[in-house]
């Protein structure tokens, strides 16, 4: 870890503006870091030359005193965001060789804010997963390893689906990265890798140009090392996009300005239903610590009830696969990506899609096809959407009593690569605390708050729709109290 890659995004920004180093120097340091983390397999594609070119342009602006908000800041991009002229794979074989002729709105905004692209990060195929092990390009490794576990030094998953982004940021190979969160895919890997992950409100960041998994649940958002960095990055990513019909036509507040550190008088909801059976003692302890920190800062914990919590995951595993089964119908070997020739049209379709989709994607496409099919639509899909209404109502009722909600991010720390691979439902349970906010479209952040067996654990703050500012403010108070200064073993060792 060089001195430059040790900085936070906010510090690097100040350094660039103070001319203590150039954007090209910073980009070069990060290009080297991207190379150094190759063993983690966090990147599908590195773009070092593009990074240097963009950094040179940033230097020119900095020299003219026309610095943009993120000028010269090197970022990584989840390989779910389409990047013009740069291979975009969604970590799937079926997108072989796909080079988009367009740039996603979110990345376009980041580049327009002066940020520098380091490359495209690995992920679960089509963002379906919680481990970054379903990638066609192989699993990503968590830069953290367990401590105090005699003999068990197996490589761990970084979480997922935005595992490559989380690993890259944790291993100081990017100042920040974009992620997407459909069932927890920003927050759970942030928790597993000891970084900050923010899922904004549905409609806050445009989905245009982001390869769709489940349209009503896909949320692009920032992954960074600090809450302040998340605020800065979100400010550049967010905003109304007329090309996305579900994008909210709302102004973007100054999120960094919202980081006042003052939570006095805020009511912090503690949902009793999140105290699930078999939850690790460390998680419970960390949650209690979080409550105490906020109380010390002058906030008031209040018990709330979110009775539908236990139904969120099964509802999610109907709705997300249903949408995915339709969204992934376009991968048919005709317009882009992989094609496996066949004797007939249907033969070509079936061979292409069998070869192009991995096991988890196939599983979800089949489940989704089934729950939408004649005779099952009402029993599964409509039922799940009704339950979703009840989940959203739970939150609405809770926010009558509190200003935000504090929960653990995930029910466990990172697990070993290969663990839970044979039991889809056990794997799905990773998202038990994150899925409800996706179903309700609410903003939520994961902040690193402690260690368990040497592995990071995160706390989650959920807020009211479009109140990312509150979530960031409370998140930063937790961050300050937790004093999470640990460094991943990959960097230490």
């Amino acid at each position: 870890m060089s001195a430059l890659t040790g900085l936070t995004l906010a510090e690097a920004r100040d350094g660039l503006r103070g001319k203590r180093f150039s954007a090209r120097e910073l980009a070069a340091a990060y290009n080297a870091a991207v190379e150094r983390v190759a063993p983690l397999n966090a990147f599908v594609t590195a773009t070092p030359e593009r990074a240097l070119d963009m950094a040179a342009a940033a230097d020119a602006r900095l020299a003219r005193g026309e610095a943009l908000p993120l000028d010269g800041i090197p970022l990584a991009v989840k390989d779910l965001f389409c990047t013009k002229g740069v291979l975009t794979t969604a970590a799937s074989h079926i997108l072989d060789g796909f080079v988009p002729p367009y740039e996603s709105t979110v990345t376009e905004k980041l580049w327009a804010a002066g940020a520098v692209m380091l490359g495209k990060t690995n992920m679960d195929e089509f963002a379906m997963g919680s481990s970054t092990t379903t990638s066609y390009y192989g699993p990503t490794e968590n830069p953290w390893r367990r401590k105090n576990h005699a003999g068990d030094n197996r490589p761990l998953v970084p979480g997922g689906s935005s595992g490559g982004s989380a690993a890259a940021v944790a291993a100081r190979a990017a100042l920040g990265a974009t992620g997407t969160d459909t069932g927890g895919s920003i927050r759970q890997p942030a928790s597993f890798c000891g970084i900050v992950g923010l899922k904004p409100t549905y409609g806050r960041c445009s989905r245009w140009g982001v390869v769709a998994f489940a349209s009503s649940l896909d949320h692009p958002g920032p992954m960074t090392r600090t809450v302040r960095d998340a605020a800065l990055m979100l400010g550049a990513m967010a905003g109304h996009d007329p090309r996305d019909s579900t994008s909210a036509p709302l102004p973007v507040p100054d999120y960094a300005a919202a980081l006042t550190g003052d939570v006095r008088g805020l009511k912090i909801g503690i949902p009793k239903e999140y105290r699930i059976d078999g939850m690790a003692g460390e998680i419970e302890a960390l949650w209690q610590a979080g409550i105490a920190w906020l109380k010390d800062a002058g906030a008031e914990p209040v018990e709330i009830s979110l009775p539908m919590t236990k139904y969120a995951l099964p509802a999610y595993y109907v709705i997300a696969p249903a949408e995915a089964s339709s969204n992934l119908a376009r991968y048919d070997g005709v317009k882009f990506g992989l094609r496996v020739d066949g004797d007939s049209l249907d033969d070509m379709y079936e061979k292409t899609r069998a070869a192009g989709f991995g096991g988890e994607v196939r599983r979800r496409v089949l489940i989704g096809t089934y729950v939408l099919s004649a005779g099952y639509y009402d029993a599964y899909y409509l039922k799940a959407q009704r339950v979703r209404t009840l989940i959203a109502r739970d939150f609405a009722a809770a926010f009558e009593k509190c200003d935000c909600i504090l929960t653990p991010t995930a029910p466990s720390a990172a697990f070993a690569i290969g663990e839970k691979a044979d039991d889809p439902v056990a794997m799905y349970l990773n998202d038990v605390f994150t899925v409800p906010a996706d179903l309700a479209g609410l903003p939520a952040i994961s902040v690193p708050a402690g260690l368990s067996d040497g592995l990071p654990l995160g706390l989650q703050v959920i807020g009211r729709a479009f109140d990312e500012a509150m979530v960031l403010r409370v998140g930063q108070v937790l961050e300050t109290a937790a004093q999470f200064t640990h460094v991943p073993s990959f960097l230490a060792g």
Partner: protein
């Protein structure tokens, strides 16, 4: 078990994913496991609860009727595995 072999074969055909005969049974078991777990939803009373259509409390935005796109065949054919004379080519379809 929620799904039998024949049902898996039918949905695989609907989804246009080739599944080898010897994979149908294990896949049926695996998918049934997920669906059995999903079944717990049936315990929720959703009488008079409308299905969610969108979390966004918005209505559909409308755009103007102006030509702003197209006119770039290279952009839409550039990634095609089998472009032919300005078309996408697929194995012959008989109607």
């Amino acid at each position: 078990m929620a799904l039998d072999k024949a049902t898996v074969a039918r949905i695989a055909t609907l989804a246009r994913i080739r599944v080898a005969e010897d994979q149908l049974e294990p896949l049926a078991t695996e998918l049934s496991g997920i669906l059995d777990w999903v079944e717990q939803l049936m315990a929720v009373d959703t009488e008079n609860v409308p299905p969610m259509t969108s979390v966004a409390e918005m209505t559909l935005p409308l755009r103007d009727d102006v030509v702003t796109d197209g006119g770039n065949r290279e952009a839409v054919l550039g990634n095609a595995p089998r472009p032919a004379r300005g078309f996408y080519a697929v194995p012959k379809v008989v109607e």
